[in-house]
């Protein structure tokens, strides 16, 4: 049977009716990943042995008449900054080129427990720092919709792999938009859940007050099923939330009538490349679903970029201090002293963007600058969060573009780091506030480039995001 475009539900049905085996699904996914990688460079590794072992376990459970789990046989890709036991995890960095984790991230372990089959690891910006996937030590990823353009970043490989179709879903990580922006550039669904909703144990730390793990998938329901299986408290991550995990599918009725949808005016300025037109169509579709669209204001939006790049670089400079060539990284040779060994290893091991962020973060935390930069940014972060909390007193969900423009050309912003940072303007706000936010496909521009509609919910508001996103999708949002 044709397995390439099956949904999670379709796979469960086919497996249980014995129309396909988990081994066949895994073999086909690995074949497709290898074939599609030639065009995209989305994959850093195909985990043949692990995938076949997991698929055999699912088939054996079915043979014995046991329940193999809600994600049985589902081919899954994992971003290469998320630890997979026995499977190389490079973070897109030369420093970790040969690093093989001795454990699974909790998110990976829970999905595997639910029967999902890890097919391989996907390319990303080095240590998840970037908005284009051009900062990978293992080469850029190409956008499946337009090969001369970027797939977005930093989870560019995960988005491209899902868009190309080898896997049903992928895990990504989102610090300032790293799931949502590539999802929008590649035309797939991407969710950054509420801060703390999914355990980060095993996610290589970039900026700990911002980092999250979330799913990328071909449709909203599949994304919900992935989140369902991995959300919830984990005692190995002290920041993971105690809040109970609701039944996400129960809310997907296709009905969105009466939902109050806030449209923040600050997010509709300076849109380019056909994004404004797609947003107008999205608003019309939301209105036709019976949503109550209301213009709102998030007045501190213009301060989000400086605020974010102070907080995230400060945290990154601290988190990346561990890559010193002693315990698990590549080490520079020909160093006489310990200090020289640290400096050479880090100087030669990190790429340009990581170095830039380590430098910025070290600077803003250094003596004499802490109050002017870091403390100030943390205060502004409070103001940005208050904007959202006030807005959610009037609306149930906020709708906005994910990015001011569709996928840009490879190399276009590479030499101007500030321009690259500025492209994150619409995603970093929800990151700073810890809010759940999603990118849902919203048609294509005249040039055929995908555009994503961003839906932002209140803390732990994943159900309202899924409800509206699924209704939008069902009403033809992807074909706008």
């Amino acid at each position: 049977m044709e397995t390439g475009k099956l949904s999670i539900g379709g796979i469960q049905e086919a497996l249980r009716a014995r129309r396909v085996s988990a081994r066949e699904l895994a073999r086909e996914a690995m074949r497709a990943a290898r074939e599609q990688n030639a065009a995209s460079n989305a994959w850093l590794l195909v985990a043949e042995e692990r995938a076949m072992r997991a698929a055999e376990a699912v088939d054996a459970a079915l043979e014995r008449g046991e329940e193999p789990g809600p994600l049985a046989g589902v081919p899954l890709a994992v971003k290469d900054n998320i630890a997979t036991r026995g499977v190389r995890t490079t973070c897109g960095s030369r420093l970790l080129e040969h690093f093989v984790p001795p454990y699974d991230a909790t998110a990976v372990a829970r999905l595997a427990q639910a029967g999902a089959v890890v097919i391989g690891k996907t390319n990303c910006d080095e240590f998840a720092m970037g908005s284009s996937n051009e900062n990978s030590a293992f080469g850029p990823v190409r956008n499946p919709a337009a090969p001369e353009r970027v797939p977005g970043g930093s989870s560019g490989g995960s988005a491209a792999a899902v868009a190309q179709g080898a896997v049903v879903a992928a895990l990504g990580s989102d610090t300032g938009g790293s799931i949502r922006q590539p999802a929008s550039f590649c035309g797939v669904v991407g969710l950054s859940p509420t801060y703390g909703r999914v355990s980060r144990y095993g996610l290589v730390a970039f900026a700990s007050s911002l980092d999250r793990i979330g799913p990328l998938a071909r449709n909203v329901r599949d994304a919900a099923r992935i989140l369902q299986a991995m959300a919830g408290r984990d005692e190995r991550d002290s920041t993971s939330a105690f809040a109970p995990v609701p039944d996400y599918e129960a809310v997907m009725t296709g009905e969105a009538r009466g939902l109050r949808v806030g449209v923040p005016r600050e997010y509709f300025e300076g849109l380019a490349g056909g994004t404004a037109e797609q947003m107008e169509k999205a608003k019309t579709l939301l209105a036709s679903l019976g949503c109550d669209l209301r213009e709102i204001s998030l007045p501190h939006t213009p301060y989000a970029i400086p605020c974010y790049y102070i907080v995230c670089t400060a945290e990154a400079s601290s988190n990346l201090a561990r890559y010193d060539g002693v315990r698990y990284t590549w080490r520079a040779t020909q160093a006489e002293t310990l200090k020289e060994m640290y400096e050479r290893t880090r100087g030669q091991g990190f790429g340009a963007e990581c170095k830039r962020r380590i430098m910025l973060g070290t600077y803003v935390l250094s003596a004499g600058y802490y109050d002017a930069y870091y403390l100030k940014a943390q205060q502004v972060r409070t103001l940005i969060t208050r904007d959202f909390l006030a807005a959610f007193e009037q609306v149930d969900v906020i709708a906005a573009p994910v990015s001011p423009f569709p996928a840009f050309r490879l190399g276009e912003k590479l030499d101007d780091p500030l321009q690259m940072y500025l492209s994150d303007i619409f995603t970093i706000t929800a990151s700073l506030a810890g809010l759940p936010a999603m990118s849902v496909p919203c048609g294509q521009t005249g040039e055929g480039l995908p555009v994503g509609l961003q839906l932002i919910g209140p803390h732990f508001g994943e159900p309202v995001l899924f409800r509206l996103a699924e209704a939008f999708e069902r009403a033809g949002g992807a074909e706008l």
């Binding site: 400086p306 102070i310 002693v326 380590i358 502004v380 103001l383 500030l418």
Partner: protein
């Protein structure tokens, strides 16, 4: 100028980061532009605004603490397996103490 080459070299030393002369030059230029943009925050009066030290913490104060019960740790060989240089169960580094 927000930052000089001399300051860049000082910060690189704090961060244990070896930068070539060319990198120092480029870094100074890049950081200068980014720091100038960050000055935008000065427009805002934040007196009396608490810094956002905690993103979201809906649990009780001590709820992340577990019982202090010993558990099986990661095996020693597994913990050492990714070391660039190891021996006798230890990480090896260049000499730090002169005899």
């Amino acid at each position: 100028m927000k930052i000089t080459e001399q300051e860049v070299r000082y910060v690189a030393a704090l961060a244990h980061l070896e930068l070539s002369a060319e990198e120092v030059q480029r870094m100074t230029h890049d950081l200068d532009g980014i720091l100038a943009h960050m000055d935008k925050l000065r427009e805002l009066d934040t007196s009396g605004v608490p810094p956002m030290a905690q993103v979201l913490y809906p649990g009780a104060e001590n709820s992340t603490l577990r019982e202090d019960e010993p558990r099986e740790p990661l095996a020693h060989e597994e913990a050492m397996a990714n070391a660039p240089a190891a021996g006798a169960g230890c990480f090896k580094v260049p000499r730090v103490i002169e005899r």
